[in-house]
Assembly symmetry: C2
Homo-oligomer: 406 residues x 2
């Protein structure tokens, strides 16, 4: 008995039949005596359809109006689920972002939550209602509708769970948990029972697309346990919890990969103060996020500078850097889209040396060349040729003892 926040993703509410299935699950939790607040995504595909509609008008639709448009997706599912629950004779009520007082800044399309005024939700909960909140959306202090960016419903859910001091935030999705690697390319991958916020933060940014990374940051900050699980089965999924919550500390918890990267190299850049700013300022001003940066050893006052950007922004970034290269007198700009990032993640790394050398030698044994390396406290990432991605994931998975036993 407690206060449970449940979030259902787009595939879980993709049609009326699935919404009925979600309603059944919600009702079960409610009938066990829990207070239940549900956060919903739009039906799978709907957000993309709405964006398509807007881009028929213009390639870069006004961001305020795009948010008004996109917010209809979650409004629809919230109304339909509340309707279904009421039809099952459960007291239920839908709430939109502004009604639930999800107050954000005014960065349309990628707004940050400033605060959540819980009274509105709690009034309904205290009166015995199941509250169904439209995810992904909020409003700024002037009452403009905002959205939280791709996967924003996860952040809605965790933020609301935090504001309500919920006992747990359950994220229902179409996979049954977090895996030690992508099961699609590594058949020996196994489901992780418990994982820390920090590991999840490192995995999310590396392509484990189960949770929006911002939601994990929120959960960590407010120490809200997240249970990632499938809405299509009764099985337990993966608990995302704080590090000291009694996990066995594996050296490496998972191997992840990310093919959505491209590499840009500026050849023979003058190694002088201010040059890096000239190279990276116009990139960040275009809203492009640079992931890894390496600078070669200086030769005769010159150096090669290499960095990675998301594939989508590759051509824009190349254009920008060609101009920059002329300005700063770099010799050439080279680009490469056929790369991938492979990473190993694990809190255990903090206390174990030798992880990096196992990773490098494992890749070397397969003749996989490492183009770039970056590390954090609990993660080591290598950029390799894209065609070796699957091979690299599999051999690393085996090397770090993650393979499921037969």
């Amino acid at each position: 008995m407690g206060l449970i926040v449940q979030k259902y993703g787009g595939t879980s509410v993709a049609d009326i039949k699935r919404i009925r299935n979600v309603a059944k699950r919600v009702a079960e939790t409610f009938e066990q005596g829990n207070d239940v607040v549900v956060i919903l995504s739009a039906m799978a595909g709907v957000t993309d359809d709405l964006i398509d509609m807007a881009t028929q008008i213009t390639e870069s639709p006004d961001k305020r109006e795009l948010d008004v448009l996109l917010a209809t997706g979650e409004q629809t599912t919230a109304a339909l689920l509340a309707m279904t629950l009421k039809n099952m004779n459960h007291p239920a009520v839908s709430m939109l972002g502004h009604q639930a007082k999800v107050i954000t800044d005014c960065t349309f399309g990628n707004a940050r939550i400033i605060e959540i005024g819980v009274e509105n939700i709690m009034d309904f909960v205290k009166n015995g209602n199941i509250v169904v909140v439209a995810g992904f959306q909020g409003s700024d202090i002037k009452g403009n509708i905002t959205t939280l960016g791709r996967g924003g419903s996860d952040t809605s859910a965790v933020a609301i769970a935090a504001a309500l001091k919920a006992d747990i935030c359950e994220i229902y999705t179409d996979v049954d948990g977090i895996y030690t690697a992508d099961p699609g390319i590594c058949e020996r991958a196994k489901k992780i029972d418990r994982i820390s916020y920090d590991e999840m933060l490192n995995m999310a940014s590396l392509g484990a697309k189960v949770l929006q990374i911002r939601s994990v940051g929120f959960a960590k900050k407010y120490n809200i346990p997240i249970h990632v699980r499938s809405s299509f089965s009764e099985e337990e999924g993966t608990m995302v919890v704080s590090e000291n919550a009694g996990m066995e500390s594996l050296v490496v918890s998972a191997v992840t990969h990310d093919k959505d990267q491209a590499r840009i190299t500026l050849k023979k850049v003058e190694d002088q103060p201010g040059v890096a700013a000239k190279i990276f300022s116009p990139i960040s001003e275009s809203g492009i996020i640079v992931d890894m940066i390496i600078q070669n050893t200086r030769v005769e006052g010159q150096t090669d500078l290499t960095f990675t950007v998301p594939k989508d922004h590759f051509s824009t970034a190349m254009e920008i850097e060609r101009k920059v290269a002329q300005e700063i007198g770099a010799e050439d700009v080279l680009g490469d889209k056929n790369i991938a990032k492979v990473s190993v993640v694990g809190v255990g790394m903090k206390n174990h040396s030798g992880v990096a050398s196992i990773m490098f030698s494992t890749l070397a044994r397969e003749n996989i060349n490492i183009m770039m390396i970056s590390t954090s406290e609990i993660r080591i990432s290598c950029i390799i040729e894209e065609k070796y991605t699957e091979l690299a994931v599999r051999v690393l998975h085996t090397a770090f003892g993650l393979d499921e036993e037969d």
Copy 2:
């Protein structure tokens, strides 16, 4: 130069191409130096699609949640039009019902507007924006989303025009004005240049489906001129204005018909106090609107009672009356769905006798039997057999001198 409210119906915003067309029209009016506030319906068919979706869940979806669902239709078009205008470099902003402070009572599905707080709209107008308001929707004082019923965007438009003290409310639709009869069945019907609020009120309720009747009541109360016209042509349409605005007073302005009626007769009802209440209370409690009622001459303390209801509610009403008949000891309940109502409307009737006798003799000449009659100050309606509808409209149109000259 003034403040112009324009409302565009569902067929005018049915797709992106048509929304562009609307944007062009709005922009022209704006560029002429006018302040412009636009009210939009949902894309044609969308509201029905949403209702279909809800009725997949249950035949009688929860009304609060249905309003949340339906409100997405106008939210979508408002966002798309504002986006289009901005892409044309016109300052524009969309507003939803609650943002525009359209405050209603809490009768979900058929809410009444209580007040409109104009500051929000006027702030944007004064800052040089074209304001695009989602029609059909509002919110109650608690912030619940409400909708105004079928055709409610007309009422949104006129109510906002009244609140803003607009110079005119232009209703853009897929017909080019109000006609003296349905041109589909009476090819000599002609467009009316000016018509009074009262005539329009009588026509709207009788099946001239161009304007929601409540919007005309609003326009009359606040004396807002309405210009009904086509969004697909440049031609002037029909002005709906107050009676003294210099119209020539025709005896009959139009002939209308309504096939959406069914007749129910209770045979041999005891003619005693309280019987009528027993017959009509359960009908009105079911939300069924009774239009015409007649009671035959009393014979031996008994009478036949006949009334009409919308065809959609015929079977429900029959069921109710069969129970009532048993309770009050009526002999039988008869039903007839093959009827139609034909009416002549005109403010000139106030000062002319003989309109009724012309109507009756014209119908008699064609051997059309009159089953029921009802009259108001400026309207005479007859219930006839449905199969004679078109014939009746045409002969009455000719008899009252409305035929277009060749």
